[in-house]
């Protein structure tokens, strides 16, 4: 595990926002979210977690091609574009994970024979990319006014070789024994999606899940506060 000091020295190589290295207890990085920043999409959001940044745009409910039409619900499509190079298999698999999560919460039956398209653009990747994509997608869907039965958030955690759990890992911390990403819903913190890479025991899985549920509380509080700021009259 990287040496963690509590000095105020800004480590240049670490993160540009200059946030000090995280202490032994878990912590989430600095969060920022901006909604409605693009004029063309129906909803858009830019979500930043430390140095990881993802921009999401949502179009929908809109016209759908007859070949992709579903008679009783909306067709949800997720497109993820990497920053460098052409999209490959990793992007396809992430798109599928995000789509499955969105389909579980979006009330597609209210808009049959329409399409809801979520386009995600990776602006910078410094760890926990899938979790950031999920958060950005959720905020963009909220901004677009797509009816959902719950909000969802993504939380990533890394397991070190000595079993230490790190939430919201940076790219350096992601080179650990296992990296687990969970999507949790806001109503009962239930698990919507999990994507894991690496070796871990079932006890560790449950521990990571419990830690992710604790972290999701903070993320949902962040959602609530940012929406309150936007919509409150004061």
């Amino acid at each position: 595990m990287e040496e963690e000091t509590h000095t105020d020295a800004k480590i240049r190589a670490e993160n540009g926002t200059g946030s000090s290295p995280r202490g032994p207890g878990c912590s989430l990085r600095h969060f920022a979210c901006e909604q409605n920043l693009l004029s063309r999409p129906d909803g858009s959001a830019s979500f930043l977690q430390g140095d990881t940044s993802v921009l999401a745009g949502v179009y929908g409910p809109a016209e759908v091609k007859v070949s992709k039409e579903i008679f009783n619900k909306a067709t949800l499509e997720v497109i993820l574009r990497p920053k460098i190079g052409l999209p490959g298999v990793a992007e396809k698999s992430r798109e599928r994970l995000i789509r499955n999560t969105c389909e579980a919460v979006v009330l597609g039956t209210l808009h049959p024979r329409t399409s809801i398209t979520v386009v995600l653009q990776v602006v910078s990747d410094a760890g926990s990319l899938l979790a950031c994509c999920l958060n950005a997608a959720c905020m963009a869907l909220v901004d677009a006014g797509v009816p959902m039965r719950a909000l969802f958030c993504g939380v990533a955690c890394a397991l070190d070789s000595d079993g230490t759990l790190v939430l919201d890992p940076t790219s350096k911390q992601e080179k650990a024994r296992a990296v687990l990403t969970f999507a949790l819903d806001s109503v009962e913190r239930k698990l919507l999606m999990s994507s894991t890479k690496g070796l871990y025991s079932d006890t560790e899985l449950q521990q990571c899940l419990a830690a992710a549920q604790a972290a999701s509380q903070h993320v949902f509080r962040f959602y609530r506060e940012s929406l309150q700021r936007r919509y409150s009259k004061s």
């Binding site: 800004k10 240049r12 190589a13 993160n15 540009g16 926002t17 200059g18 946030s19 000090s20 995280r22 207890g25 878990c26 912590s27 989430l28 990085r29 600095h30 969060f31 920022a32 979210c33 901006e34 909604q35 409605n36 920043l37 693009l38 004029s39 063309r40 999409p41 858009s44 830019s46 930043l48 140095d51 940044s53 921009l55 745009g57 179009y59 497109i79 574009r81 920053k83 460098i84 190079g85 399409s115 398209t117 386009v119 653009q121 602006v123 910078s124 759990l165 939430l167 006890t203 560790e204 449950q206 521990q207 899940l209 419990a210 830690a211 604790a214 903070h218 506060e225 700021r229 936007r230």
Partner: protein, 449 residues
């Protein structure tokens, strides 16, 4: 999605306003929209906003072998992508014309003008050179993509730092950013595109058209220039006929605009450089304006994970133990194994041919339930060429000849089966013969092998 057509009244309104020298957003004829440049934490990453048009640019580098006819020059690669979030009409198949035009213009503006010194990108002549790749993504389309993209490209190239390399004889050492500070690219000049939209057959001209104005324009003139007033590229599209003095006038306007934009770019680069040197905060997080009501920030939040282990233990204690997993793999042939039994297949009437297959030793790992039947029938031919159809004890090792699929199969109409099978697959015909035949055939083929 189809592009929503522009209504006639909107078109007429825009054209009438232009005739009266008025623009919908209140700009003057030669005014540019506000340009905002923000940088990311990695070198070479920037977002340029020209009004509401937003472009993300990223530069990356890689060591490759040079082109055969240019052994001492580095390689520049440009890629402009119109993201699907930029406009609802940008679908993968539909944007080819515009995309090709923009990419070609970008290439001509940046590569043909030799703004980057490619000779300096050479590491070992003929063997290793740097390939610089510029990826531009259009995030929001509100008109004048080419200007925004050219600004983003040149800003990203100026901001980029490539890893330092040293060559000692035959050895090439690539230093990581921690070992040695990365090196900027050597840029001779900064070409920037300026777009002019023409209306009413060249009578009226507007600089930096926005999306609506672009829809009603007759033609577009793009001039790429640098601050030394050298024209790098000039392109006129749309089939409008321009007079010589119109083009000259445009180039003068372009000269003025380019000087302003270049100054803005240099100031932005300098600011970013200063912030990084002083150790302040930089990156996209800082460029989110605090006062905006749609933006919200939260500082680092500690999470209490002390009760995590207890919770986990509780859940595991309450959970049922996992059902016993059959972990013995069935080895059909070297390199082909089967774990588990697959799902009960629903193609009841092919079951007879399956039976004979398996008796002869249909060997193929059963992957999906849907495909199972087909592979079972066809593979018997392929399998017959391979050694080692299995009879228990044949090779001395104990294999599990699992006939389990057949046990699960439900024979629907056993009488009708034979005829049906004959017509379905050709290989099935062969299986109609008594099971000894396949065995014989295989032995023959084995002998042939």
């Amino acid at each position: 999605m189809k592009e929503t057509p522009l209504s006639n009244c909107e078109r007429r309104f825009l054209l009438r306003a232009i005739e009266e020298k008025k623009r919908l957003d209140g700009r003057q004829t030669y005014d540019y929209r506000n340009i905002r440049i923000s940088f990311g934490t990695d070198y070479g990453c920037c977002i340029v906003e020209l009004g509401k048009t937003r472009v993300l640019g990223q530069v990356s580098c890689e060591l490759v072998s040079p082109k055969l006819n240019r052994a001492t020059e580095g390689i520049l690669f440009f890629n402009l992508e119109l993201s699907q979030m930029a406009a609802p009409a940008f679908e993968p198949g539909r944007q080819s014309d515009l995309l090709v035009k923009l990419n070609r213009l970008m290439e001509r503006c940046l590569r043909n003008s030799k703004c980057i010194d490619t000779e300096s990108l050479c590491v070992v002549a003929g063997e290793k050179v740097w390939q610089i790749r510029v990826d531009l993504h259009l995030l929001n389309h509100d008109g004048n993509i080419i200007d925004a993209a050219s600004i983003a490209a040149i800003v990203a190239l100026c901001h980029f730092r490539r890893p330092d390399v040293s060559v000692q004889g035959d050895e090439v050492t690539l230093y990581t950013p921690e070992e040695r500070d990365p090196v900027p690219l050597s840029i001779h000049h900064m070409p920037i595109c300026v777009s002019f939209a023409f209306f009413q057959q060249g009578t009226y001209l507007l600089v930096d058209p926005n999306e609506r104005e672009e829809r009603v324009m007759d033609g577009l003139l793009v001039i790429a220039m640098n601050k030394h007033r050298e024209i790098c590229t000039i392109q006129s599209s749309g089939g409008i006929m321009l007079l010589k003095d119109q083009v000259l006038r445009c180039s003068k306007i372009a000269g003025v605009k380019v000087a302003e934009i270049t100054e803005l770019i240099l100031k932005a680069l300098e600011n970013d450089q200063k912030v990084r040197k002083e150790g302040g905060k930089f990156g996209f997080a800082e460029s989110i304006a605090n006062q905006r009501i749609t933006a919200f920030k939260m500082e680092k939040a500690p999470i209490d994970t002390s009760d995590v282990e207890e919770k986990a233990e509780e859940i595991i204690a309450e959970a049922e133990p996992p059902s016993e997993v059959v972990s013995t793999p069935v080895l059909w042939t070297p390199g082909t194994a089967q774990i588990g039994e697959g799902v009960e297949n629903s193609w009841g009437d092919l079951e007879d041919s399956e039976k004979e297959d398996d008796e002869g030793g249909g060997d193929q790992a059963i992957i999906l339930d849907g495909i199972k039947m087909d592979t079972g029938v066809e593979v018997s031919d392929i399998g017959s060429q391979e050694l080692g159809f299995h009879h228990v004890g044949q090779t001395g090792l104990e294999f599990l000849t699992s006939d389990s699929e057949e046990e699960e199969m439900i024979i629907l109409e056993p009488d009708k089966n034979p005829k049906k099978i004959r017509t379905q697959t050709t290989s099935a015909k062969q299986e109609k013969a008594p099971s000894k035949k396949p065995v014989k055939r295989r032995k023959k083929k084995r002998a042939a092998n």
